[in-house]
Structures are given as structure tokens and as C-alpha cells.
């Protein structure tokens, strides 16, 4: 069975929950309910911090409700991923010693989805004989757990073609973590093909300021103590023009010019805040760490429908150190962003915390 499915969308499927939309070309991506967006700023300014917290199920109706969030973009994101992988298979790689970790993460994802979304996913197990049903993608697969010859792809690629978010698998040895497998089709401008095989400090090397602040030393120390069954999460964020999921360095010459297309008239619609909800899981057999980098996009128009977020985003973007705005790739459009967002900032105080209603 091939997973390069043609998504025959009918709005009636699944009560019309999943959106038929694109992350390229005509860019029809929209958020059904912007208040569900994981707004990443819990205060009016931003500086790097380790900011790791336990990844426990959170508030209903938010991206934190379940361990792995499956939202209305699921089918469209998986379609976009299949297109990216067809164009460039180097976006999904696993070094030979990482197959067991691939099985670990396949199990983690299948269990979580079958538990939290039984209407869409189910997993039947009889010893190592497993049957996995993914109704939104039309998949019904019987296979033998830990026997890669029974799946159409390696275990990591198989489950990643059915899972939102970029993921990396990190092997632990010599007192550090090594990014020895990964998939990157919705990345914020880093190359999996270049970075695979690097250790924790090497793949973070290009990030400005954070090394000097000791952020990566502390984060690594924390992650090496990560326990199975006690996942953690943190936020990262950047800016993207158009709801372009795949902002890879590989294709930068193709999408780079979009950054120059922003005007005062179209910025609300075109400029998107790009949030990475990152979660980390210790895997039971391989002792590797799975790192999920889940990307959420919201246009400025959508964000300012929440007055607290409009005020706060204006203050964060305005006051961000120049080095960070440069590294995050939006220094050229920052003046335009600040001017447009200022309309939504009346100077009123904002409540602490992320959520729209707090």
C-alpha cells in the first residue's frame, strides 16, 4: 500500500471537521477558531529562556487538550508533507542505528492517537501483530511490530507520513544528544540533511545569543534527565509570509521573494506568526529522545481578533533585540509589522499567561 494517497476531499467526511486547504499556491489555509491557536507569549516582552514545562494534557478547546494535537489541518498537512517528500526525499532520513527508536515513536503516536481520538484512529494488538486504522487518511494496515519488512516505509517514515509536526530522534551517547533521524517538511529554515548526525551544541550552533546565556548547556543537562512517561514541552516562534508550511533552506530561492511581497494593505492577511509547540519524549527501548516540533500558523488578522494578543504581539515585535529579529528572518518587515500592529495596542495592561481569556 502506498501512502502517497490522493486526498479525495468531501466536506461531508467527519462532519466537515477537516479543512480542504493549501499551504502553497493559492494559500487557502485558515484557522477555524483563532482562539485555539497556541499564542506563545506569556508576557509583553521576549528573550530566550529554557522555558520547559511538563507536557501534560491541558485546557479543553486548546492545542494542549491532548498529548498529540490533531486539528482541522491534519489531512491538508499530510497532503503537503507527501508532496514535499516526493520532491525531496532527503527531508526524511534515519541513520541505520535508529530503526528501533523509529518503532518506539511509532508506538507512542499510535497509542496516543487511538486513545485520544478513537473516532479517527484505532490500534488492535495481538502480541506483535498489530492492526492500525487511520480513518481520515483511509489507511488500514496490518503489520508485525519490530519487523520493518511488513511496512511500506521504515517505521519512522511510515508514522511521520501520518503525523503533524517535524520530528527528530536523538540518540544519547558521550554525555550529549545526537540528531540521528528526522523529518523536516514544516521547518523554520534549518536543513535536516545538513544537520543530521550533529550533537546538541552543533545543531544549535547558528542560534545567536543563547549559547552565551548558557541556555543550551542548561537545556541539555535537563534533557539528559528526561524520563520515560514524563514528556516536556516548550515554545519557539518566528514569522512567515503567507501560510507556507515548508520554509526549508533547500527551497529558499523559491520562497525567499515572498518576504518582499508584504504591504500595509495586505500585511494582516499575509503575515503569519509561526509557533512551534515543541515536545520531548524519552523512548522506552532505544533510550532515544523524540522531539516533536509542531508548527502552528496564524495570520496577524486572526491574532488581533483577540485583543490581549494584538496588544502583546505589538510590544514583543517592537522591543525584540535586533539580533533576534535578524536570526528569525523578519528584520526587513519589522517596521511594517510594528506600524500595523500598533493600531491594536491602546496601551492597556495585559494579563499574564498565554490564554486569550485570562
Amino acid at each position: 500500500m502506498s501512502l502517497d494517497y490522493k486526498f479525495a476531499f468531501s466536506p461531508d467526511h467527519f462532519d466537515g471537521f477537516f479543512r480542504d486547504e493549501t499551504f502553497r499556491g493559492d494559500f487557502t489555509y485558515r484557522n477555524t477558531d483563532p482562539r485555539r491557536f497556541p499564542f506563545p507569549f506569556d508576557r509583553d516582552d521576549y528573550m530566550y529562556a529554557v522555558n520547559i514545562e511538563p507536557h501534560v494534557p491541558g485546557r479543553k478547546g486548546t492545542a494542549f487538550e491532548h498529548l498529540l494535537d490533531v486539528d482541522e489541518h491534519y489531512i491538508a498537512e499530510m497532503t503537503d508533507r507527501a508532496k514535499v517528500l516526493a520532491e525531496d526525499p532527503l527531508r526524511c532520513q534515519s541513520l541505520p542505528h535508529m530503526e528501533l527508536a523509529g518503532w518506539d515513536v511509532l508506538e507512542l503516536i499510535m497509542e496516543a492517537k487511538a486513545r485520544d481520538y478513537p473516532q479517527w484512529f484505532s490500534l488492535e494488538r495481538d502480541g506483535n501483530r498489530w492492526r492500525w486504522i487511520n480513518r481520515p487518511l483511509g489507511i488500514d494496515e496490518s503489520f508485525t511490530f519490530l519487523d520493518a519488512s511488513t511496512l511500506p516505509y521504515g517505521p519512522f517514515e511510515y508514522i511521520m507520513r501520518q503525523t503533524q509536526g517535524d520530528w527528530t530522534l536523538q540518540d544519547e551517547r558521550e554525555g550529549t544528544l545526537w540528531m540521528d533521524a528526522g523529518i523536516a517538511t514544516s521547518q523554520a529554515d534549518w536543513s535536516l540533511d545538513f544537520d543530521i548526525g550533529m550533537n546538541f551544541h552543533e545543531w544549535h550552533a547558528p542560534v545567536p545569543m543563547a549559547h552565551e546565556k548558557g541556555i543550551f548547556d542548561r537545556a541539555l543537562k535537563f534533557l539528559l534527565k528526561l524520563q520515560h512517561g514524563a514528556p516536556v514541552r516548550r515554545f519557539n516562534w518566528t514569522m512567515t509570509v503567507n501560510p507556507l508550511l515548508d520554509t526549508a533552506p533547500e527551497t529558499y530561492p523559491k520562497w525567499g521573494t515572498m518576504k518582499t511581497s508584504v504591504t500595509p494593505e495586505n500585511i494582516g492577511r499575509k503575515q503569519h506568526l509561526r509557533v512551534e509547540l515543541q515536545s520531548l519524549y524519552r523512548l522506552p527501548r532505544s533510550n532515544a529522545i523524540a522531539f516533536d516540533i509542531r508548527c502552528y500558523l496564524a495570520s496577524f488578522d486572526e491574532i488581533v481578533t483577540v485583543p490581549k494578543w494584538g496588544r502583546r504581539l505589538h510590544r514583543v515585535v517592537r522591543d525584540l533585540p535586533e539580533e533576534l529579529a535578524t536570526y528569525k528572518g523578519f528584520i526587513r518587515n519589522r517596521p511594517l509589522m510594528v506600524e500595523w500592529l500598533s493600531q491594536y495596542d491602546d496601551g492597556a495592561p495585559t494579563s499574564s499567561g498565554w490564554f486569550a481569556d485570562d
Binding site: 545538513f194 544537520d195 545543531w203 550552533a205 533547500e250 530561492p253
Partner: protein, 205 residues
Amino acid sequence: MTLTPVAPTIRSRPVYAPLAAVPGHLHLVIADGEGAEAVTDMLERAPDAAGFLALTHFLYCPGPTGTDLSDRLQALGAMQFFRAPTIPALLPRLQRVLTDAHMGSRFYLAGSEGLIGQAERDIMATGFPFAAIQKEHRGSTLRRVQCVHCKGITENVATDPFQCSHCGLNLFVRDHYSRRLAAFQGVNIDAEDPGEVPESVVRFT
């Protein structure tokens, strides 16, 4: 001539230290160009240079700017000496020799970063961690750069930006370095404003 200094930069950029002879069953010494001087300096400091040389296999080629100190190395009278005309011609021999390397083999790499990186990559492929491999950068600072767009590698890059020898894009040279590819990263400099390419400056010689 001493160790080529590397300005402090980002954490993925390799750093180097002077070679030091350590006890071992086999000394595999791989060098190009001015790297030969790193080897002779090491031998001057070694407590038992003759004993070291009796267990040494040299693999050497001229450096990217033409420096050829083959005669000086060959005259040392090591167990084995091999001269290749270029790095690509040296690597098949290295890969063959590595099939016989076992616990107690010692690795010493010296010369250009292109030579050091590619030899390190091949040694690591046998299971030795990079931290067990000694490396001393000498001579040319020309860089081996992978185009992140087309994946082609351009050897001996001198200027920044430069034109990818495979796809023709204008690339700026980052310090971000991959041991797996033995290459620095090149990224299109005019992706956002096609045609606006800053004047190239010679950064590597």
C-alpha cells in the same frame, strides 16, 4: 609556520590542536600540503620518534595551493609512505587501510580542512568517534562548501559570496559545519532580492 588559527565562532565550527604522538599499535598519519610540517613538529616533540615511525603509515597529497612536501615526509623512513596527487585520489587508499585498522590504531590528520574533514568522515564511518582523532589545521584556509539548495559540494572556495559550481546560485559561506558531509554550508545570498549580490571578497586563502 604553526597551527592555522581559527577565530572563535559558532559551536559547530571545528577547532584544532597541535598533534601529539601517543602510544599505539598503528599510527595512521594523513596529511596534505603544509600539514607535513605539523607531522615533523610532532616527531620532534615525540619521546621515541624512531619507534613511532616504525609503526607509521603516511598518506600524503599536495595541498590545495600547491605546497608539496612529499620528499620531506618520505625521507623520514616510515613503515609505509604513500603519495597521492589529490585528496580524491588519496581517499580510496585510506578506506582500504581502514579495513585493517583495529583497537590501538591512532589517527593523526594535518593540513587543509578539506583533507582533515574527509579523512575524519571516513574514519568515523568505521565506528571511531571524532574525539579519538587528532587534527591539526595547517596552511590553506580554502573551504569545502555544500550548497544547501542543490546539495553539490564546491571544493577550495576562496571568496564569499561565491557561485555554486553545480547549480550556479550565489552562495554566502556560513561557519555552520557538518562532519557527516565534511563541509561548511552555503546559502543563497540573493533569494529575497534576486540579482542583488554583494561584491565577492576573498576570505579564504
